[in-house]
């Protein structure tokens, strides 16, 4: 644990150095320095659950922002669940914040609808355009325009409870689906009261590695026009294999059919779950809630059908400015403050997310402890993004993929359910 913290701090310091250099370059440009915002208030939305010690972070960020600009910062923490609807409603009502953390998959949709502001020029002017993590830049760019400043990235792998796994004698990295299945059946036989590998119905990013790992795709891009591929044989194979874990091999529980990731985590914290698919940011949360358990964590990459590393969703967040803000300059100052320098370092350090710059990423992989290494491997070798199109946000809003996974878990035929989902996606892509 201690070792990992140090490593991350070192890695993050690297990114901080870069960012600081960038900053000094900016103020050297002599545009009059920081904007004066005394008497003004900037509202920022942060997503909940990313940083277990967000409270102190927010307090210090507020103080720093006020010190730098004189303006007051109002931070509101939003839960991920229901966040998409909330953003849509806020944009529609003009009641959005000035600045918000926006999940990568939503940026194209919100930008296309006209809710987010163009940051390209500001980023160039501030000299921040180089060295950002590619996946995040891609997610934040629509028609060549940057709508968000990369903040952090993360990826999902398998996290395990070493005590339980040792007890059942399964401790090695699964090299294929078969290996993973053997692990699960061994665990199930060893102690039937455990939930060996929960299959949460409301969490699609635990399912996508298997769709991708079988060679399938959610949708395919044919020169700018997207069409669903979720009902193609490979995708269906992956989906069946994944859901069969629950339906045929007893890896999960029916209760999990409506679970989101935090529900799985809650069970893991009760030490009833030997392993589950979760994000690189979760160990930090576990360290806070159950330090004892945090000492005995072990991670594996999610295997593909015939190899050790399946593609896994590279998620993360960008800092976006809302179009309706009355203080664009002040808002960008805040974005800079959060995504570069000290505060970016601290965020990466406190959350175990990977910072938004490539160089810092590589340092982490080189010097990292086992957990970090596993997650980094998954990200560098398997990091994959969902279709980068404004339609994707709507598909997420329609919960098409969630419905697909949970209906299959509820007993629907995989091919039929996938056909339904594909039809729904095509309708959204088309319209």
């Amino acid at each position: 644990m201690i070792a990992r913290r140090k490593v991350l701090a070192a890695g993050a310091a690297g990114s901080a150095a870069l960012a600081l250099a960038a900053c000094s370059g900016d103020s050297g440009g002599g545009d009059g320095g920081v904007v004066d915002g005394s008497g003004k208030t900037i509202t920022m939305w942060l997503m909940e659950g990313t940083n277990a010690s967000a409270d102190t972070y927010i307090e210090e960020l507020k103080a720093a922002f006020t010190e730098a600009t004189g303006a007051t910062l109002d931070v509101q923490v939003q839960p991920w669940d229901g966040a998409h609807d909330k953003f849509v409603t806020a944009m529609a009502g003009g009641t959005g914040p000035d600045v918000a953390e926006v999940g990568t998959t939503w940026v194209p949709e919100f930008a296309d609808a006209g809710g987010l502001d163009d940051l390209t020029e500001d980023i160039d002017a501030a000299g921040l355009a180089e060295g950002m993590v590619e996946g995040l830049v891609e997610a934040g760019t629509l028609d060549g325009v940057m709508y968000g400043m990369p903040w952090y990235a993360g990826v999902r792998s398998i996290l395990g409870n070493k005590d339980l796994l040792d007890e059942a004698g399964v401790t090695t990295q699964p090299e294929s689906w078969d290996d993973l299945l053997t692990m699960i059946t061994t665990l199930k036989e060893h102690n039937p009261d455990w939930i060996p590998f929960p299959i949460p119905g409301a969490s699609i990013f635990a399912a996508t590695p298997f769709i991708w790992g079988a060679g399938g795709e959610i949708a395919s891009d044919d020169g700018g026009s997207w069409s669903a591929a979720i009902n193609a044989p490979e995708a269906v194979e992956g989906l069946s294999w994944y859901t069969d874990l629950a339906l045929k091999h007893g890896s999960s529980t029916a209760a999990a059919n409506t679970w989101v990731e935090t529900d799985v985590l809650a069970e893991f914290l009760q030490e009833k779950v030997p392993m589950f698919i979760t994000g690189s940011w979760v160990p930090a949360t576990i360290a806070q809630d159950n330090p004892e358990l945090a000492e005995k964590l072990v991670a594996f990459t999610i295997p593909a059908k015939d190899s050790a590393v399946a593609p896994s969703f590279l998620g993360g967040s960008l800092m976006c400015r809302f179009l309706e803000t009355e203080e664009p300059e002040l808002s960008f100052e805040l974005i800079k403050l959060v995504t570069t320098g000290d505060f970016a370092t601290r965020w990466a350090e406190e959350t175990n997310y990977f910072p938004g710059t490539t160089e810092a990423m590589e340092e982490i992989v080189e010097a990292g402890d086992e957990l970090t290494k596993v997650f980094a491997t998954q990200m560098l070798e398997g990091g994959k993004s969902v279709p980068v199109t404004p339609a994707w946000g709507k598909i997420e809003g329609a919960k098409t993929m969630n419905t697909l996974v949970s209906s299959v878990l509820g007993g629907a035929d995989v091919q039929e359910a996938a056909d339904t989902a594909a039809a729904e996606m095509d309708e959204i892509f088309g319209g």
């Binding site: 229901g82 998409h84 609807d85 849509v88 409603t89 944009m91 529609a92 296309d112 609808a113 006209g114 809710g115 939930i195 119905g201 409301a202 529980t253 029916a254 209760a255 999990a256 059919n257 409506t258 179009l323 709507k394 809003g397 329609a398 919960k399 969630n402 419905t403 949970s406 209906s407 878990l409 509820g410």
Partner: protein, 324 residues
């Protein structure tokens, strides 16, 4: 009779007290406008906040109105396309409409039966027990739909809720072996229990109040004629309570068709489990999750039309105009 009122400013004003037969025009106008003055604030509120929005929803239902139209302030009329799309969608006929109508029917019938049985039972009790029992069912009524829903979700939690634990204790089912919330029937069974639990006290209390006004002599007379309890209920109680029953049925139909929170807050009820969607949730998620305000409005119009038709039928069948 209104001596302190300032005298009407009509030329005949001074002569008014003498001419008792003709009420002066000014006063007549005042009498005629008085109710409208008193009604004005209420009508204004209802017009601005209920009627005008209804017109707007109609207008929106004829447009392909999405988030970007909203942000850019453009309208985009497409005629009846939305209606065609909704009405030809098998999802409406196979899932949403049966869910909405079937659920409401079952809830109304059950609520009326439970409420009436409880009312008749309460009426047979002595004063002390009656008021204690009434207080208890008042508690059931008072529990907000919102928290009531969470209580039932917790009772039926598939992993550690009371119901599954009890079944586990009886050896019927293992915890976690079945998820009530992903199955359409069990989902709605739980929602029905929730809605009936919340709704029966109103019926019971209202019917009880009505029952207590039915003269005892009527029952005695019927009993003398040798009527059984059952036929006394149908021949004496029901006719006497007809207006109250009508109001109860109308109100609970309206309430049960509009059920939203109880569905939306259940696991999977916010649109992620398609099978359990009803018209209200569908309209809401189309608008506020997808940003398709036009389509959402169309569904809302259909729901409103459905309710209006049902209400008009009810009013015709159950109420006479002079009872208003």
């Amino acid at each position: 009779m209104t001596q302190l009122d300032s005298p009407p400013r009509s030329p005949t004003g001074g002569a008014a007290p003498l001419e008792r037969r003709t009420v002066p025009l000014g006063r007549r106008l005042r009498r005629a406008s008085m109710p409208w003055l008193l009604l004005a604030p209420a009508l204004l509120v209802l017009a601005v906040l209920l009627l005008w929005p209804m017109l707007r929803v109609l207008n929106l239902s004829l447009q392909d109105f999405e988030l970007r139209n909203l942000l850019r302030g453009e309208s985009n009329y497409i005629g009846l396309d939305n209606y065609v799309q909704v009405l030809t969608d098998p999802f409406l006929w196979k899932t949403v409409l049966p869910n909405t109508v079937g659920f409401a029917l079952v809830c109304v019938v059950l609520t009326m039966i439970v409420g009436t049985v409880v009312a008749v039972f309460l009426n047979s009790l002595g004063t002390a027990w009656r008021s204690i029992s009434t207080t208890a069912i008042m508690v059931a009524w008072a529990v907000p739909a919102l928290t009531g829903t969470y209580i039932f979700v917790w009772l039926f939690d598939p992993q550690s809720g009371l119901v599954i634990s009890t079944l586990d204790g009886l050896g019927v089912m293992e915890p976690g072996s079945f998820n009530w919330f992903t199955n359409r029937w069990t989902f709605y069974a739980i929602a029905t229990i929730n809605v009936v639990y919340h709704g029966f006290p109103f019926i019971a209390v209202t019917m009880l109040a009505g029952l207590m006004t039915v003269p005892k002599e009527l029952y005695e007379a019927a009993a003398m004629d040798g009527a059984t309890a059952w036929s006394r209920f149908w021949n004496v109680t029901v006719p006497a309570l007809r207006p109250i029953i009508a109001v109860c049925v109308i109100l609970s139909t309206i309430w049960d068709f509009k059920v939203f929170v109880q569905i939306y807050l259940m696991p999977g009820g916010d649109g992620s489990t398609r099978e359990v969607m009803n018209l209200g949730v569908w309209s809401y998620t189309q608008s506020f999750a997808q940003g398709e305000y036009g389509m959402g409005s169309t569904i809302a119009v259909l729901l409103t039309a459905l309710l209006l038709v049902i209400s008009v039928i009810y009013l015709r069948v159950l109420m006479k105009e002079d009872e208003l």
